[in-house]
């Protein structure tokens, strides 16, 4: 039996009498990226801070690869992007990244090469000689992500990795995660559900410090009904719903927000629902923006009944 990468037992953390985490128990194995979602104040950052060893839990136990956080056995094996942490303004980016690499056991030349490698990975090779004060918010975030990549750790905890980044850089981060996820397990805390939807197969939902659901699989094969999310150009919502509802195999049609429809259907009655929907849209001369299988992560986590 392989050792889980993360194992928390009855983890509780209390800030000034207010519980931030309540009795969280999880066991996670290595593999695809894991999303950590929840509203503001749900305890996501607290959980990541405890896992990273920045914060001691009030009670409960935590093990990463079988060791407590901050254990010397985890150096080079576990890394993190802490929320809002900034580099030292007195030193250049390369000096600091090379210093971190040396703390992980690299020699001086190896450390310098590693600093260049991770900076190139986040498309910031040109900022190597800059000091952190010369960087924009987005660049500073990418440098912080670069430090998490030093030494290709087995587990990387990312707290809001794409917050404040422009779309191009969001794509860069997405690519890094996709490229490295074969050898590294990422735990990603984010409010960007669309982004998590793309990257993560497993999702942890925290609400008011309580873990609501350990793993939400994206595979709906086991369920009796399936979903298609349809995003339309401007259209008569009532009429669209009425016509879609009348299609063969459709169980239910909902309109959670303007121009977005979720079609729940029975795949046994209509296995090619997507084609049937396209034909219906074409016949009624309605323009659509996107048709995707399944519900959005937002719908799954926060609005499903």
């Amino acid at each position: 039996m392989t050792t889980p990468i993360i194992e928390c037992r009855q983890l509780t953390h209390v800030y000034s009498g207010k519980p931030a985490l309540a009795d969280v128990t999880i066991t996670l194995a290595a593999g695809e990226p894991i999303g950590l979602v929840g509203p503001n104040g749900a305890g996501k950052t607290t959980l990541l801070n405890i896992l990273s060893g920045f914060l001691l839990p009030t009670s409960g136990t935590v093990r990463l690869f079988g060791y407590p956080p901050s254990s010397s056995e985890l150096i080079g094996k576990v890394s993190a992007l802490p929320q809002d942490a900034r580099l030292d303004p007195s030193f250049t980016i390369t000096e600091q990244l090379a210093f971190y690499a040396r703390l992980q056991g690299m020699t001086k030349p190896q450390a310098t090469l590693e600093a260049s490698r991770v900076l190139e990975a986040v498309s910031l090779a040109e900022a190597a000689k800059e000091k952190p004060t010369a960087l924009s918010h987005g660049m500073a975030k990418r440098v912080a992500i670069a430090q998490a990549l030093i030494g290709k750790p087995d587990l990387i905890l990312l707290d809001e990795p794409t917050a404040g980044l422009d779309p191009v850089n969001v794509r860069t981060i997405r690519t890094i995660i996709a490229e490295q996820s074969s050898e590294t397990t990422f735990v990603i805390s984010s409010h960007d559900l669309a982004e998590l939807d793309r990257q993560c197969r497993r999702i942890l939902l925290l609400e008011k410090g309580v873990l609501q659901s350990e793993t939400i699989g994206f595979n709906e094969q086991q369920t009796a009904t399936r979903f298609i999310t349809l995003q339309m150009e401007d259209c008569p919502a009532q009429e669209v719903m009425a016509i879609l509802q009348a299609l063969e195999g459709v169980v239910k049609v909902t309109n959670p927000q303007k121009n977005e429809f979720i079609v729940e259907y029975n795949p046994d009655l209509q296995p090619s629902m997507d084609q049937q929907l396209m034909q219906c849209l074409s016949a009624n001369h309605w323009q659509y923006r996107q048709l995707s299988h399944g519900k959005t992560l937002e719908e799954k986590l926060f609005f499903s009944n």
Binding site: N49, S52, G53, F54, L55, L56, S70, S72, I75, G76, V78, S79, A80, P82, D84, A85, R86, L87, D88, S90, F91, E95, Q96, F99, Y100, R102, L103, Q104, G105, A144, Q147
Partner: protein, 273 residues
């Protein structure tokens, strides 16, 4: 393979040395200190030493020197070192309270410590920063002591060999004198949010603790033993000693440092970063 704890302490202290002498902010502080020290060396220190060398006034009035607490001046065979000894015991502990005030506080507030503890233990971080700060101060003490040696050699080159033991004893003793102050700042820095807060707390603790213990010891003399907890408690007695006799009191700063570092380590181990 991660480095040993000793290697981590070494790497962190080396990085602090770099901060002290190879960054813009560090260099500015060193240059400022150098300029101030130049004027201290050139005027008060040389002036008093000249008086002692020429045997005018001060040297013959030993009761006056004893009265103002500079009694040991006349016991140093090389007067410049006697004067430097008095200056150093006053200046370096004070300097330590400001120079060593920011061992971890601002980095913790900025979140920089998080990047470091992902790759080293909190102990290595705490002791590495402390060791780095001590190394910076030892270099400053060494540089000022050597500047005094140069002053001595300007007067009489033949004093070079006899001056070396005094140079060594002064560097060792001043280092021991700043040790508990640096340890106190390490402990405070691990808790408070800024260097300024650490300095303020150090002054408050130093003043009030000394006052309270002295007050209580007046009524209950057995409590006088707690005076040994206060960094710098031995300095006034130390100022009366000269040459290798100054090491008689070395156990006091060493014990204080051990206690303060243990306390600081305890804080650091529990502190949210």
């Amino acid at each position: 393979m991660p480095p040993s704890k000793f290697k981590q302490v070494l790497l962190i202290s080396q990085f602090e040395l770099k901060r002290g002498f190879a960054t813009r902010k560090g260099l500015l502080s060193v240059v400022t200190f150098g300029v101030v020290w130049y004027f201290i060396l050139l005027y008060p220190l040389r002036f008093v030493a000249d008086l002692l060398v020429q045997g005018k006034g001060l040297q013959h009035d030993s009761s006056f020197l004893d009265f103002i607490g500079f009694g040991s001046l006349q016991h140093w065979p090389i007067p410049e070192f006697g004067v430097y000894w008095q200056f150093a015991l006053l200046i370096f502990p004070m300097l330590s309270i400001t120079v060593a005030a920011d061992q971890t506080s601002s980095d913790r507030e900025r979140g920089t410590l998080r990047f470091i503890v992902l790759r080293s233990s909190r102990d290595s971080l705490f002791f590495g920063r402390f060791a780095g700060m001590m190394a910076i101060q030892i270099l400053l003490v060494g540089a000022t002591a050597i500047s005094v040696l140069v002053l001595v050699l300007f007067r009489d080159v033949s004093l070079f060999i006899p001056a070396l033991p005094d140079l060594a004893v002064i560097i060792v003793n001043v280092t021991l004198a700043v040790l508990p102050f640096t340890a106190l700042m390490a402990a405070l820095s691990a808790k408070v949010k800024s260097a300024r807060q650490a300095t303020l707390w150090a002054i408050l603790i130093w003043t009030f603790l000394a006052g309270i213990i002295s007050g209580l010891a007046y009524y209950l003399p057995i409590l006088d033993v707690f005076q040994y907890l206060i960094p710098g408690n031995q300095l006034s007695d130390l100022a009366q000693l000269s040459e290798w006799r100054t090491l008689q009191l070395a156990y006091i700063p060493l014990l204080q440092s051990v206690v303060l570092l243990a306390f600081g380590r305890w804080i650091m181990a529990r502190q949210a970063l």
